[in-house]
Symmetry: C2
Subunit: 421 residues, 2 copies
């Protein structure tokens, strides 16, 4: 299967400036990016971009996809009421089948938002993986384990089972310091050493979490986890808001990824991550939406605007965190954090994970600076097409995922209605 | 001309909860909202909502539409460099004809974002007004005067000329305290008393503006302007970030509107307006995008998310500023601030200024709470139709405004390219 995109712009992601070029896809990979060529040969489909722009798909580097059922279920509540009285009791009612259908709803939203891969941490791993495989979506499962869920052997099995190739892969991980005993964390560290593999977890999302860790262990979550050898082969943290200077140095020295979720951090009043400082120190940065119960949407345009905007506010400096930096976080950064080195930029041999932006919408005009237009003005209304692994899964408002959106919506509504009783 | 919307939801805006209903439009006004009726009679067009939602159009209560030419022209710069080295020199090159075409570009963006009216302050008033009239858009011009632009007689003429009915109206206003001499402000106050009319201006957007006013006049902009009698017949301020307790009390006691522009305030690092406190005090609130050079997009979904999100962050309280409050700011609040009492909600006799939201997009599912879905998850990708004064100007991605979007884009690009020289 060969597909040609022509008569438009290509933003390869390296460098982050668009050029007039065409892009050819052969099966699951990019075959060519460059000027039109006489020897192009035959294509199965030729897509006239008509001035539109092909770019790498967004990588949603932290989410809990199946939490779609709780979108708008309990907003505008104090954090602990929301979590303890609303989220946890409803999650206790989830079945594997629920997670399968609820993750599918999230995948529809990813596709319509130009997102081509997610880094997902949730229960019922296989249901989550099946939803991605069945729809053709790329998912990196983050090992999900804590004192009341999964076992070290379960984590080891998950890591082995989901790293055999295909659309779904797995990176080691655990929920967070505050939900894992030291003995469990030591076992996870042993697994990381066994596989010489990176480890991710929620880290320093709230001030109280950090204070609790200091009370329990005499030091911050980052320093504590690092002292247990959990980051000896890299990895990173989700949120990374309340970091000490020592924590930041650990992130830099270990080459850890700080995955920021500014939408969730804003809505849940968690705080503003020190992205400017981390970036200046050379810490690797990526962006995620967090789950749809927290955010509430799965939209990397929102995350990009907030990633730069909140830095401008927090630093009282309109020049903080340039658009190009957050664009890189949302695309290449996420891919590398997630171990998707083949999905980071658009170049021959890379996976064909891409999205096409409609540049002929008023929010993209005039064309003074394309990346700034994307970061400051862009929205999901600009997503014309989303391709993963060489397959077009979304185009001009329609989904090509083997099931109708209405059927998926119906199931999601039935699930939340059943839970409400 | 009679149009029927049926088989969906209507969110009248009062109350702010949707109900299953149909809505009929006759000419420029809403004829009926309620259950289906046998005696409906004949319609010129019947629109099957298929579960979608009709709601009042968003009111963009502060903007400078024609600044579209500077979108993404000079981002990520320190504020004063941006203003003095980039914005002002380019604005000096504008002609009336430029403003006409550039405002048209903004209007396309408004329509695609479900915005049905704007409160616009800019130079070349008649060009601005003509763009709205020619496209069928509703604009409230805010009197634009300062020491180097317009005269009191010009302001008086503008107020008279643009309050003779039709899509364009005018409210008295001036640029800001720091650009107007006291003698000019006294003349504007005299005009306000002459017409017994409200007055709007930029107010307390930056800390340095407030400090400068205190140095010049010994008091804050709000207290100073009030002491000159400018608010004796109401009015309000744009931005309203750096307000003292006395300023807030003046807003409350005078019934002034605080028009917040959180997108611009974020991107330009101006600060976070004290909306929670103002709301608790009973101050009238509305929302605006500010101009597209500042924000950079004209999207009330972004403004709504930021209006609540930044309050949650600033107050460290996830329950701050409920979704329903910001929804009201973005619709009814704006209408009342702008003197559009006929455009505030959807009820018989009101103007048919409305938008239809596509509820069968994944970001709107499941349907746990419609208003929270709109505020926390909604985006311009949900805008299916926009109607102003009973005329459908935007539907399913297409514009019905007498000129093609491509022609408008071409002119906007030609203007900025000419200026760049």
């Amino acid at each position: 299967m060969r597909i040609r995109f022509y008569n438009g712009l290509v933003l390869t992601g390296s460098p982050a400036q668009p050029e007039r070029a065409e892009l050819w896809v052969k099966d699951d990979r990019i075959e060519y990016v460059g000027a039109p060529r006489e020897d192009a040969g035959a294509f199965d489909r030729e897509i006239d971009l008509a001035g539109d722009l092909v770019m790498p798909g967004f990588k949603n580097a932290h989410t809990h996809s199946a939490m779609t059922f709780l979108r708008s279920y309990a907003d505008d509540l104090p954090l602990l009421d929301w979590l303890n009285k609303q989220v946890f009791p409803m999650e206790a009612k989830l079945t594997a089948d629920d997670v399968y259908h609820l993750a599918k709803l999230a995948i529809l939203e990813y596709l319509a938002a130009g997102i081509t891969a997610n880094f997902d941490m949730y229960m019922f791993t296989e249901a989550n993986a099946a939803a991605s495989r069945d729809m053709g979506f790329r998912t990196v499962l983050c090992g999900c384990i804590h004192d009341f869920y999964n076992t070290p052997d379960g984590l080891r099995k998950m890591y082995e089972d989901y790293n055999k190739g295909g659309l779904v892969s797995c990176i080691l991980g655990f929920h967070a310091e505050y939900t894992c005993s030291e003995s469990l964390l030591r076992e996870i560290s042993a697994i990381a050493h066994e596989y010489k593999a990176p480890v991710f977890a929620h880290n320093s999302e709230s001030a109280s979490e950090v204070a609790g860790c200091i009370e329990r262990h005499g030091t911050t979550p980052t320093a504590y986890l690092d002292s247990l050898g959990l980051f000896d082969y890299g990895g990173g943290g989700y949120h990374c808001i309340h970091l000490s200077d020592e924590d930041k140095a650990i992130f830099r020295d270990r080459g850890l990824w700080a995955v920021s979720c500014p939408g969730s951090n804003t809505k849940l009043a968690s705080g503003i991550a020190p992205l400017t400082q981390l970036h200046d120190m050379g810490v690797h940065l990526a962006l995620g939406t967090d789950g749809p119960a927290s955010n509430n949407c799965l939209d990397m345009f929102r995350e990009m605007f907030l990633a730069t905007g909140l830095q401008k506010l927090a630093n009282q400096d309109a020049s903080a965190m340039a658009a190009e930096t957050v664009f890189e976080m949302a695309t290449r950064g996420g891919a590398l954090a997630m171990g998707l080195a083949d999905c980071d930029t658009l170049a021959p041999g890379k996976k064909a994970d891409l999205t096409v932006l409609d540049m002929r919408r008023p929010n993209m005009q005039p064309v003074n600076a394309v990346v700034k237009n994307i970061v400051y003005s862009g929205s999901t209304s600009n997503i014309r097409l989303t391709m993963i692994d060489g397959r077009i899964l979304y185009e001009n408002g329609s989904f090509f995922v083997g099931e109708s959106p209405d059927a998926i919506y119906e199931k999601a509504n039935a699930i939340i209605n059943r839970m409400r009783g």
